[in-house]
């Protein structure tokens, strides 16, 4: 593992950076309960569409404060949602503030968050949405859903695709025919409509956990068909290679031949295919959320944060910070693509 990291570093610095970047993203999302200053559904009704809070070191008198601070803001124009700062009192930034108890993944409880300011001031690093909810906190919580859906979804569809494609290609004959016809049936449907109709089979009023699992299942059920098809083709050619014949001539069982001799030689394709398909899951979830079929409010995902902005031109103009969810998606996609490309080369022994 360490050697692999070193190879990745030597092979491509950008990809190595991407790996760490993604790890940080996953880490931050995982610990959103501690890192986010507000809970995702905490509303500041008097501060809708609040722009990102300014953090100051110098007060209105020009004095320097070693501890950064914010001013409370009051609404200036209730129609266009402009705010002005109230210079009468400073609210210093506090670390490890205590607040309402949150549960980290149902197991641990925490009362302290990484940072915050006293009420009634608020610290909104990325501004607030129409209900006055902190976008930064919602992005952290939303990353938890968007990033984990993509990982779990990819894992399921990759396993399905590899197993089906591998079995179909390796055993051939009637097994191949049955499996591939199945895959083709799945592939003839346009994936987006398939996604919608699968979602439509289930009631709308599901709990958030149920919706989450449902979306993972839907997305991974759609994604595996294409992979299976290509893996089958690769297995068909690889199984005729001399080293596979040699493995058979040693009397190895089929599963060992598939697992150790055939699958590793499909990696040049499949590793790239996996990392490139990760973005598809984030976008798929975003698309479902956009149509109101994905993760439901008040639960955040990058998709439904973004969807709340699309179709509202005023918001795009006046509160562009709501589009940060899109930038998060974009950045994660780029990093996954970079990493995937490099991983394919790094996992090939010929490049060592």
């Amino acid at each position: 593992m360490r050697r692999l990291l070193q190879r990745l570093k030597n092979h491509s610095r950008p990809a190595y950076f991407s790996l760490w970047f993604l790890l940080v993203f996953y880490f931050v999302s995982f610990f959103a309960d501690i890192l986010a200053p507000y809970h995702f559904d905490q509303q500041f009704r008097n501060k809708p569409y609040h722009p990102p809070t300014k953090i100051h070191f110098f007060d209105s008198g020009g004095n320097f404060h070693i501890r950064p601070f914010v001013y409370n803001t009051v609404i200036d124009d209730p129609v266009f949602k402009t705010y002005k700062q109230d210079y009468s009192k400073i609210y210093p930034l506090k670390f490890f503030v205590s607040g309402k108890e949150r549960r980290i993944f149902f197991f641990f409880k925490t009362k302290r968050y990484l940072f915050g300011v006293d009420q009634p001031a608020g610290i909104f690093l990325f501004g607030t949405d129409n209900y006055g909810r902190d976008i930064f906190s919602r992005l952290l919580y939303g990353g938890r859903i968007s990033l984990s859906i993509s990982l779990i979804g990819v894992f399921i569809s990759f396993s399905l695709g590899m197993i089906t494609g591998g079995i179909a290609g390796y055993f051939g004959g009637i097994i191949d025919q049955i499996l591939m016809r199945l895959v083709e049936i799945l592939m003839v449907f346009p994936s987006f409509y398939l996604m919608l109709s699968l979602r439509a089979m289930f009631p709308l009023n599901l709990s958030s956990i149920q919706v989450y699992l449902l979306i993972v299942m839907i997305l991974s059920l759609i994604g595996w068909a294409g992979l299976a098809r290509i893996i089958r083709g690769m297995v068909l050619s690889i199984k005729e290679e001399d080293y596979v014949l040699a493995a058979r001539s040693l009397g190895l069982p089929h599963w060992k031949i598939l697992l150790f001799h055939i699958f590793p030689n499909t990696f040049s394709y499949s590793i790239t295919a996996i990392t490139i398909s990760v973005p598809g899951y984030i976008i798929g979830e975003a698309a479902l959320s956009l149509l109101g079929l994905g993760i439901q409010e008040p639960y955040p995902s990058w998709g439904n944060i973004l969807s709340s902005t699309i179709g509202n031109l005023r918001v795009l103009g006046d509160a562009p910070w709501l589009l940060l969810a899109g930038i998060f998606i974009f950045v994660v996609l780029i990093n996954f693509n970079l990493l995937g490309d490099a991983l394919r080369n790094v996992l090939d022994p010929k490049n060592w």
């Binding site: 290679e241 014949l245 022994p349």
Partner: protein, 308 residues
């Protein structure tokens, strides 16, 4: 004489389809081939490219299933057995492939490759190192990948893999076909040493008659999927019977190349190139018959007496 491996009346036809599957062409790789491998008697299989030698090797190991005929291991018919029931046989008869650049998994270290070849459940590092040193490779090669080795070294690994299971018989399919002359000599020396030390019996498949003469005791000559002559080395060397064998000994003496006008006749396979063809050769296929003691040939030249 202890018989290890025997195949009887093996036939294998490959159907070659064109893109749409309309035109089908049949390629006869093996036609009614029977050979017998006795313990301690190395068998050489000689023939030019396309004579079905490699298919014969694969059929002997049941890596390719024959269309008809049977393979016997120690007098047990194993033709119909599935791969999972053949494990005992796989450990006793091993194969060395022709091209060491293709026969090693590029994604496995040498250690992993050899580990799979050793049938015992607990494989300790010494066993792998022994297998390597037996073939003249340093034991630290086990951490290497195939692409980090030369062709000769790879072939040694392939040999180490074949002998790791302690087999009785090794089918070597042109083991020096892709190697240069000096490496070839070294590999042949290695195989010779292994044969003596481990008591192996080789089935040596090659197009190079000189190797076979040095290496084997019995020779089978194949032409287009048929056995045309079979005999001991002295017999084949001193008194070759079949016209094809004579050509093999002296390739420059080829009198006629394969001619198109003979291709529609369903007679002897060697018809098109035979300098001694007769009327009967156009109509009938000669049967492999014993001419002298344990010297078999399939040619009408030697059936004259009976025919008349």
């Amino acid at each position: 004489m202890e018989e290890i491996l025997r195949c009887e009346k093996i036939s294998k036809v490959f159907v070659v389809k064109d893109f749409l599957g309309i035109n089908r062409r049949k390629v006869t790789a093996l036609n009614n081939v029977s050979i017998r491998v006795n313990k301690g008697i190395d068998l050489g299989v000689v023939g030019e490219s396309g004579s079905g030698k490699t298919t014969l090797a694969k059929v002997l190991l049941l890596l390719v299933r024959p269309d008809s005929g049977s393979v016997y291991y120690r007098n047990n018919d194993i033709t119909g057995l599935g791969d999972s029931k053949l494990v005992f046989f796989r450990n006793k008869v091993r194969i060395i492939f022709q091209n060491p650049y293709k026969s090693l998994n590029p994604r496995s270290t040498i250690e992993k490759t050899l580990r799979e070849a050793i049938p015992s459940r607990r494989v300790n590092p010494e066993m792998i190192e022994t297998a390597l040193t037996q073939t003249g490779l340093p034991s630290d090669y086990k951490n290497r990948y195939p692409h980090q080795m030369s062709g000769g070294e790879r072939q040694r690994v392939a040999i180490a893999r074949a002998i790791a299971g302690n087999p009785e018989c090794v089918v070597a399919d042109e083991p020096t076909g892709n190697l240069d002359a000096t490496t070839e000599v070294n590999i042949l020396k290695l195989l010779d040493g292994l044969r003596k030390n481990l008591g192996l019996t080789f089935v040596f498949i090659t197009h190079n008659l000189k190797i076979v003469v040095d290496f084997c005791e019995r020779i089978v000559v194949m032409y287009q999927g048929n056995i045309v002559e079979e005999g001991s080395v002295e017999q084949i060397l001193k008194s070759p019977l079949h016209p094809y064998t004579k050509i093999l000994w002296n390739p420059s003496s080829i009198t006629s190349i394969r001619e198109e006008k003979y291709k529609d006749f369903d007679g002897c396979v060697f018809l098109a190139r035979c300098p001694y063809r007769k009327k009967i050769c156009f109509e009938h296929h000669p049967v492999l018959k014993e001419k002298e003691k344990k010297h078999l040939v399939s040619c009408f030249l030697y059936e004259q007496e009976k025919m008349v």
